[in-house]
């Protein structure tokens, strides 16, 4: 799986309340909420992100609440993947369960500038300015969930195989 896209660069500790503030959680659908993604920090961001773009951030991305609307909203913006130095654990599980690809990388967030293009070959490498940075492969079970589009879809697939 290869993702090529433009990067949007965010800092450390991007919390769930920045990803989607509490006041918008009561809206009817993720589709209604998605224009407010990241609004406390970058109100223009949600409208600027194009399908396939990549979010790059520092450490502890997704810290805070267990609200699953956080990864869902990033997925609904059709972000190709999120690359961060580290992820908060509840967010990490929620993202995988929603089929949103997360990539942990120490170095890349220090090197990229917003607007640059990068290529991510999942489980293999990240390519930035003709340089390649190795990635460790994702565990097979997690990759299966992401490839299926989330945990529920993966469960359904598994069940239909067993039927």
């Amino acid at each position: 799986m290869k993702i090529k896209g433009k990067v949007w660069v965010l800092g450390d500790d991007i919390d769930t309340d920045i990803i989607i503030p509490t006041e918008y959680l009561a809206m009817k659908s993720i589709h209604d909420m998605k224009q407010y993604a990241f609004s406390p920090l970058r109100p223009e961001l949600a409208a600027s992100i194009r399908p396939g773009d990549i979010i790059v951030a520092g450490k502890n991305f997704g810290c805070g609440s267990s609200r699953e609307q956080a990864p869902e909203i990033i997925k609904s913006l059709q972000v190709g993947c999120v690359i961060a130095k580290s992820f908060a654990r509840i967010f990490y599980r929620n993202a995988i369960n929603n089929g949103l690809l997360l990539v942990e990388h120490d170095l890349l967030p220090e090197l990229v500038t917003e607007g640059e293009d990068i290529t991510v070959s999942v489980g293999e490498y990240i390519e930035h300015k003709d340089k390649r940075y190795d990635l460790s492969p994702l565990p097979t079970n997690l990759m299966e969930i992401i490839a299926a589009g989330g945990l529920v879809e993966a469960m359904k697939k598994k069940n239909s195989r067993n039927d």
């Binding site: 006041e23 009817k28 609200r67």
Partner: protein, 418 residues
């Protein structure tokens, strides 16, 4: 055996003799809690995504409405109705208007040695009784609801040895903020924070909850204490018995050990917008406040209310300052009434809210406006957490919040009393 408390709980939930940090295991979940933050989403998924869905064991489920309680607009009312109807249809234990979900879980359900999933990040609170509680999203919740199982990556444990005694005017709240300030908001990511030592043993269960509850703010999967006589007494007072009384083995493997002398801890605040930006109250400078809040699953119990009342008694909060107080549950509320604390709060000019997540959740009560400053006993001070994106939240103990409400600016409680 060489296992920590957390490893023993996971091993028993996985039906294994021994587990070690870093392994992934399928576990049976003892109990599943979900609140109105996301239950309606899990119900939608249950009804629309699954073919012939069924609940593995309805007796393990607890639904609690506490985030937007009472409903503040038609959308939240609809989410509540969905939850209420589903609970009735499936015979699921259901609470509304009784208090914050974690407080109700501690009063009614949690047993030492259990593995509990909650669709709320502060499920880690249950470690105060030696249970392994951890927060999950609504998809993980749904999966566990229909299968009775889930998977866990066995976390390594950081152990915090607490020695000595707090000085007058210093509280567990100051300790946990100090620890998070030291190790950082990601200092325990995917790890367990285990609290031990004479300082931990001297705390009652309510005080232990203050520590365990904030573990997630350092990124931890849970915070936990060894269940002891205090845990047994709490369980007995609430009509329950422990499932297991696990202790960490003397030769258990800890990733790192920390020592905290409680007598050295000072009253602190976490400055906006990061929970690990912690400084002594004396160093915070001249910070005027618009609102104070005492409540939440972290600090809305009788201990915090008594502390606040002792500071507010016979005094008036500063002009232009609102002070909101929400007891963590109706049990706490009634006790505060019986002890005369509510009279003191009302005389001082405070507003008493029903038992719910209130200001800490920033969704339905006491939301603050642009440029306003809140000092809170809540769990988070993220940007915009309590309302407008350009408002500020300082986190502090109930004593510091009460004193600051009197002074109209952030101050140490002993300065006001003096």
């Amino acid at each position: 055996m060489r296992m920590t408390i957390s490893e023993k709980i996971i091993a028993s939930a996985a039906g294994l003799e021994k587990v070690s940090a870093g392994e992934i295991h399928t576990v049976n979940v003892d109990r599943l809690m979900s609140n109105d933050g996301t239950t309606h989403l899990a119900i939608d998924m249950y009804n629309t995504l699954l073919k012939k869905p069924r609940i593995a064991d309805k007796d393990k489920l607890v639904f609690i409405i506490d985030h937007n309680m009472p409903a503040d607009n038609p959308k939240t009312a609809a989410a509540h109705k969905k939850m209420r109807d589903f609970a009735r249809e499936h015979g699921i234990a259901f609470y509304e208007g009784k208090g914050v979900c974690h407080q109700i879980m501690m009063e009614e359900y949690v047993r030492s040695g259990e593995l509990i999933f909650g669709a709320d990040s502060h499920t880690c609170t249950y470690g105060a009784l030696g249970a392994f509680g951890t927060g999950v999203g609504n998809t993980d919740f749904l999966y566990a609801m229909v299968t009775g199982k889930s998977w866990v990556l066995v976390p390594p444990t950081l152990r915090f040895h607490l020695t000595g005694k707090f000085r007058e005017g210093v509280y567990p709240r100051d300790l946990i903020l100090t620890i998070i300030g030291d190790i950082g908001a990601d200092g325990a990511t995917y790890k367990v924070m285990e609290f031990t030592g004479e300082g931990a043993k001297a705390m009652n269960i309510n005080e232990r909850m203050v520590l365990a509850n904030m573990a997630v703010e350092a990124g931890a999967k849970t915070g936990i204490f060894e269940p002891d006589e205090a845990a047994l007494e709490y369980l007995e007072n609430h009509g329950r018995k422990p499932k297991y009384l696990f202790k960490s083995d003397p030769d258990a493997v800890f990733e790192k050990e920390y020592n905290y002398d409680l007598s050295k801890i000072e009253p602190v605040v976490a400055r906006p917008d990061n929970v690990d930006d912690v400084v002594s109250v004396d160093e915070v400078g001249d910070v005027k406040i618009n609102q104070g809040f005492i409540g939440s699953c972290n600090s809305g119990r009788i201990e915090e209310l008594r502390t606040a009342a002792s500071i507010l008694k016979g005094k008036k909060i500063a002009d232009g300052v609102r002070l909101l107080i929400s007891p963590a549950s109706n049990t706490v509320y009634l006790q505060a009434l019986q002890e005369g604390l509510m009279d003191i709060f009302i005389d001082a000019g405070a507003m008493i809210m029903n038992s719910n997540c209130s200001v800490c959740w920033g969704g339905c009560q006491g939301v603050i406006g642009e440029g306003e400053v809140l000092i809170s006993t809540g769990t988070r001070n993220f940007k915009g957490r309590a309302g407008h994106k350009d408002s500020k939240v300082y986190l502090a103990s109930a004593a510091t919040v009460a004193a600051s409400a009197l002074a109209g600016k952030i101050v140490r409680a002993d300065r006001v009393i003096a």
